[in-house]
């Protein structure tokens, strides 16, 4: 229960100063806190603000409420009769043995039925397989969570708070690790006579469980047939809220293009010259790079035959326009944009975000190394080579800054040894070390369940990452 604020009511002068934004943040804070608890002062403040009164008056005359509202009673009664029609009581005067025989026959039928024919049974099999499937790398992955009103990104496994946690906890669904078959099974197993439907396609299986009661009334889990990993989940609640959870698409640098090939399908450019896929891909990355997005901003680049599909999230209108203009110059590229608002206040400054940025940067550098091998680059012209080198240097420098930022964050609470020793470094080693650091940071800062990670381990691995990154960055800086 909320209690009235103990602070004295602010003076009219103070309220006016607040209203017209003449107070500093420190001065305004106690008054705002008071206002949130004190209806009287809230009313006083709003009486002083003409816009409230004007809006009130305006809507009264300009947008009147309906004169007559229909009575709800007949519709409520209709809902009741519809419900009764659905629930037909099973009353039978048949001898008990008939029912027993029928039940026995049913058991026999079920036992003889080939596996996979019954949805409930098939769901159990699929969930068991999904539970056993390796979930390597999950700890450092992130999830995109969407509801009707918001969208945010969180670590895949966390005990951290977020806007929908309470709803899932109330529904007894494990929100610490929502995209796991175990969480789904635990919820499903607790339901009383749920309706289960399984739809299987070539690449995925979808389990749709509808509950007859409770707060969470439907859960739809999509499992990838190839590796039985959970791809996404969608939940519907009794109060019409819905929540959709998917693994965050590739971060910058985690492009899921097919393995590099020297001989590639080519397309006809407007000027009549064929532009090979690697060159177009490089230009796509250059265009994205030119937007100067924050590290870790999700953008995926995928190949669809000879076409490149770019999916960008949360670009502002200027970035969107700029990217479209840049991509328009590259043949056979499609841009899709989607909204994805990250909860900046929660995560931007955190060590988790920093380590994610490092990991994203490391992945990107590794991807550049993989995609644009010496052999591939040898086919580039001078301008394309220069673009590639510039992009590589820019991201190496950013990685260096991100590592320094994380060092600064860690050093607030722990002593970090210097990193003078040289190591032999590759982008592969960089990614491997960044993954370990990110897992440890996530585990320690977000309080992952069952974590045994400790600070000494993080400090040690971070020092190693620092050495690798310094060596790697030096090698990039000294390259042509």
């Amino acid at each position: 229960m909320r209690t009235e604020a103990v602070m004295e009511h602010p003076t009219t002068e103070n309220l006016a100063a607040l209203l017209y934004e003449r107070l500093t943040a420190d001065q305004a804070e106690p008054i705002l806190k008071h206002l949130d608890e004190c209806a009287e002062c809230e009313g006083r403040l709003e009486q002083m603000e003409p816009a409230f009164g004007d809006y009130r008056q305006f809507r009264e005359t300009a947008a009147p409420v309906p004169v007559a509202w229909p009575d709800l009673a007949p519709r409520m009664r209709r809902l009741d009769s519809e419900r009764r029609a659905q629930v037909i009581p099973i009353r039978s005067n048949r001898p008990a043995w008939i029912g027993m025989t029928a039940a026995a026959a049913l058991v026999v039928v079920l036992l003889l039925w080939p596996a996979g024919k019954g949805s409930e049974a098939r769901a159990e099999v699929l969930l068991a397989q999904a539970r056993k499937a390796p979930r390597a790398g999950t700890a450092h992955k992130r999830l995109q969570v969407r509801t009707a009103t918001r969208s945010f990104v969180r670590p895949a496994i966390t005990k951290g708070d977020d806007p929908v946690r309470a709803e899932f906890e109330a529904a007894h669904y494990d929100w610490n690790d929502p995209l796991s078959a175990s969480a789904y099974s635990d919820w499903k197993d607790r339901l009383n006579k749920p309706s289960v439907k399984v739809t299987e396609e070539k690449q995925r299986a979808v389990i749709d469980t509808v509950a007859t009661q409770g707060l969470l009334i439907e859960g739809v889990l999509t499992i990838a047939s190839a590796d039985m990993s959970v791809m996404s989940a969608k939940f519907r609640f009794a109060d019409e809220e819905w929540v959709e959870v998917t693994a965050v698409p590739d971060l910058i640098g985690e492009a899921s293009l097919p393995a590099p090939a020297i001989v590639r399908p080519a397309v006809q450019a407007d000027n009549g010259h064929e532009i090979p896929l690697p060159v177009r891909e490089l230009r796509v990355w250059s265009a994205i790079d030119g937007l100067n997005l924050a590290s870790g901003t999700p953008i995926s680049v995928e190949a669809d035959g000879s076409r490149i599909v770019v999916t960008a999230y949360s670009l502002n209108p200027a970035q969107d326009e700029e990217l479209r203009a840049s991509l328009a110059r590259i043949p056979n590229v499609r841009l899709r944009t989607e909204s994805l608002t990250q909860d900046v206040n929660d995560t931007r400054e955190s060590a988790i975000t920093m380590s994610e940025a490092i990991l994203a940067g490391a992945h990107f550098l590794k991807k550049l190394d993989e995609r644009f091998s010496d052999e591939v680059v040898s086919s580039f012209d001078v301008a394309d080579r220069s673009d590639l080198a510039t992009m590589r240097k820019k991201h190496a420098a950013q990685l260096k800054r991100d590592v320094e930022a994380l060092r600064f964050e860690l050093a607030k609470t722990h002593s970090i040894p210097g990193s003078a020793a040289n190591v032999s470094a590759s982008s592969e080693a960089l990614v491997a070390s960044a993954e370990v650091v990110d897992r440890l940071v996530t585990s320690l800062y977000a309080g992952t369940a069952g974590s045994v990670a400790g600070w000494p381990q993080l400090i040690e691995e971070f020092s190693r990452l620092e050495r690798i990154s310094q060596t790697y960055v030096r090698s990039v800086e000294s390259s042509q």
């Binding site: 909320r2 209203l19 017209y20 705002l32 949130d36 209806a39 809230e42 709003e46 603000e49 003409p50 816009a51 409230f52 004007d54 809006y55 009130r56 305006f58 809507r59 005359t61 300009a62 947008a63 009147p64 409420v65 309906p66 509202w69 229909p70 009575d71 709800l72 009673a73 519709r75 409520m76 009664r77 809902l79 009741d80 509801t147 009707a148 009103t149 918001r150 806007p163 929908v164 309470a166 906890e169 109330a170 009661q213 707060l215 009794a238 109060d239 019409e240 809220e241």
Partner: protein, 179 residues
């Protein structure tokens, strides 16, 4: 947690309770739905739908601790879903525009008042949907935390939306009314 399982009221009692809540809050819910951008017909339809859903939850054994906030939230969710399904429909500003007095209504005072209303309307149209909803709900008397509950956002965000909305509306005032 908003809903917990229990079963203490008869169906008639529940219907009366819902009818009372409906009578007291339907205009407010309707206006909040207008603020989301629904047209008046759709807003009226969804207002009733939200109360009917409230009835179904109670009838099936649920208890809603904050009934008014629950209905507002469900109505808001229905509106958001509807908006996602269909193209944006007539917003409150358009609804308001429909009711503005027609041109050529004589007296100079009317002209000045009309201009003022038009400026205010234009400023209102520039508000984001969230800002408009916050303003509408606040004018209806919902506290910051109640608005936050309806929109599933933080109280501080509600405050920010309101501040921005007010700043925008102030711009519509002639110089002498500005602080």
């Amino acid at each position: 947690m908003t809903v917990i399982a229990t079963n203490v009221e008869s169906r008639d009692e529940i219907q009366l309770r819902v009818a009372d809540l409906y009578e007291a809050n339907r205009d407010g819910v309707y206006r909040a739905l207008l603020a989301t951008g629904l047209d008046s017909g759709k807003a009226q339809e969804m207002t009733q739908e939200a109360f009917l859903r409230f009835y179904v939850v109670l009838r099936d054994g649920g208890v809603v601790e904050h009934a008014r906030a629950w209905v507002y939230r469900v109505a808001h969710n229905l509106a958001v879903d509807s908006m996602a399904r269909h193209a944006r429909e007539t917003g409150i500003s358009d609804a308001i525009a429909d009711t503005l007095p027609s041109k050529g209504e004589g007296a100079e005072k009317d002209v000045i008042e009309k201009e003022r209303r038009e400026r205010f309307q234009a400023a209102l149209a520039r508000l984001s949907t969230q800002q408009r909803i916050c303003l509408e709900l606040r004018v209806q008397g919902l506290r910051y935390h109640e608005i936050a509950d309806v929109l599933q956002i933080r109280s501080s965000t509600v405050g920010e939306f309101l501040r921005r909305a007010i700043r925008q509306l102030r711009k519509s005032y002639p110089c002498e009314r500005k602080p």
